[in-house]
């Protein structure tokens, strides 16, 4: 059976409207053959988790530039666990200082991509995380 393409949800939690990075990454993932759903602006953590559930995605990518990541990212993880999506890897990028990145990874964000990360690296990491999860699902 042919495997369906990797599906990724790209989301903008909070009120920040700078989505250049999110859109660029969505395009890069799509160019790499993935199916990408972009939520658009001003999404609450619950809305993002719900979209991840409904769209049955392999990976969730969060983007934030406003500094609200320390509050909002862990909430996304909580909302996802509440919907039984605890095993869906969540990656993140944006204006995230190194010390916050360490804290967020500890809280369960699978990977943080700091400013200047090459697109290729992000695409590869997302693909790897998606494959790992599918393998784990098959047991």
């Amino acid at each position: 059976m042919e495997e369906r393409p990797i599906r990724v949800l790209v989301a903008k939690p909070g009120l920040d409207g700078h989505d250049r990075g999110a859109k660029v990454i969505a395009q890069a993932l799509r160019d790499a053959g993935m199916e990408v759903i972009y939520t658009g602006l001003r999404q609450s953590p619950a809305m993002i988790a719900q979209a991840a559930l409904e769209e049955d995605v392999d990976v969730v990518g969060l983007s934030s530039l406003s500094g609200a990541h320390r509050t909002l990212f862990p909430e996304v993880l909580r909302e996802m666990r509440a919907r039984g999506l605890g095993d869906v890897p969540v990656v993140a990028g944006g204006i995230i200082p190194p010390r916050d990145a360490a804290e967020l990874e500890e809280a369960g964000i699978a990977r943080i991509f700091p400013p200047g990360t090459p697109l290729e690296e992000i695409v590869r990491a997302v693909a790897d995380l998606a494959r790992e999860r599918r393998l784990a699902e098959r047991g």
């Binding site: 920040d16 409207g17 001003r42 500094g67 909002l72 400013p115």
Partner: protein
Amino acid sequence: MRWDEEARAARRAWEASAEGAPRRRERFLTPSGIEVQALYTPEELAGDDYLERLGFPGRYPFTRGVHPTMYRGRLWTMRQYAGYATAEESNRRYRFLLERGQTGLSVAFDLPTQIGYDSDHPLARGEVGRVGVAIDTVEDMERLFEGIPLDRVSTSMTINATAATLLALYIAVAERRGIPPEKLSGTVQNDILKEYAARGTYIYPPEPSMRLVTDLMAFCAERVPSWNTVSISGYHIREAGATAVEELAFTLADGIAYVEAATGRGLEVDRFAPRLSFFFNAHMDFFEEIAKFRAARRMWAKIMRERFGARDPRSWMLRFHTQTAGSTLTAQQPENNVVRVTLQALAAVLGGTQSLHTNARDEALALPTEESARLALRTQQIIALESGVADVVDPLGGSYYVEALTDRLESEAWALIEEIDRMGGAVRAVEEGWMQERIRRSAYRYQRAVESGERPVVGVNVYREEGGEAELGGALLEIDPAVEREQVERLRAFKARRDAAAVARAREALERAARDPHANLMPPILEAVRAGATLGEVADTLRTVFGEYSAAREAGL
């Protein structure tokens, strides 16, 4: 300039000698995709029409500057954009910068304030005081400007969807100090179109938003005559990924839309046009940026004089604030950002800006610390006082390259403006997502060029060093999460103290005005904040009448 047979022959000889010479690249392109030649000569210039294309500074078409002597008379306003956490914290930063020679204030508001939510709104969680200061009430505004003479300092406020409310709060604070509105000078950004196109802090659909913009223009023409009512902003369009040509064209097209909206409501063009100002980005390609500023002035002069029939020369003048390009700053080897900012600021000054913000070196990771904010301000002062570039008006005027590039940017931008005109104007172009899609494609193309190494970024795709981004890790500005709790408590205390009945009456009056398309919304908003209504309550009252705008998920994304 003489360009004769002899010169042509000499040029051919030079071309022959340059023919087989090694070159770093096959083609040299500006970031807008304009191919640049190895050399420019008088032959490339559009023609011998000096007076028509360049003229003299302070005179139509203002290519060489809006003032006759430019920075010889007075330097540009050094206006560092600042604000974070609480009104007290921001007030401290303003005084710090004013004491160090900054000459104007520029207020950054947090996202809830920009989108019309009080600090206790569920959607404000995690955002209070983050990218700017939280302002809910007239008392917050009072604390923000404590000890700052509102009749002597000009204040720029980066505020759009809630611009009318913030201006009302500012006027109310001035009134409490006995300063009449006539004495206030400053700017509200109040450019809602670029929010839909690029920055995302809209509230209402475009039509009622445009009404709020023009209501403010009409109100200020009567009551706050020294206030700049719209700062038509290409900055964010560029940050979102547009090229220099797109920044130029989309900004001027937005400007055309505001002038049309105001004249469409019966305002006489020369009554409000002198109070329009612009806000541009200073990006990395030095000459393309200088040419962009010069082309912008020439184009706006023509638009105002020929398209709108403005008679007052002040209506023809494009005055602008510039900010260096935040998106060009790198987290890797952050000290390199000081060099980038210096070049960008120099381009803005050589382009004739009236006001300038220089970004701080740590802004790829956080808001600036006091130290990095000071260095950014010092960068401007060194350009102004030590480099000598401020001593001559438009010193690059007449450079064969700069003039040819100015002409080229102008012609490419006109082509885009004509395309927007054919679509029905900037409001339509935004509603249909056309501008957004063009910006998105340019952003992607730029990123691809960086990835492929076609566009070098030192420290990122060339001359990398491992672990370079960690250098600033320990010295970044941090916003204490307690700020949010304190702000919410202050808001609750304010609400408990005020006359609730008076607030309710003022909100009803505002709602009635919003339902009457002929009413100006500024007076009832001013009444509401005087009565003690919060920013979120004013926004909610208008939401009940206007509804909220939601950008449809972009097709294909």
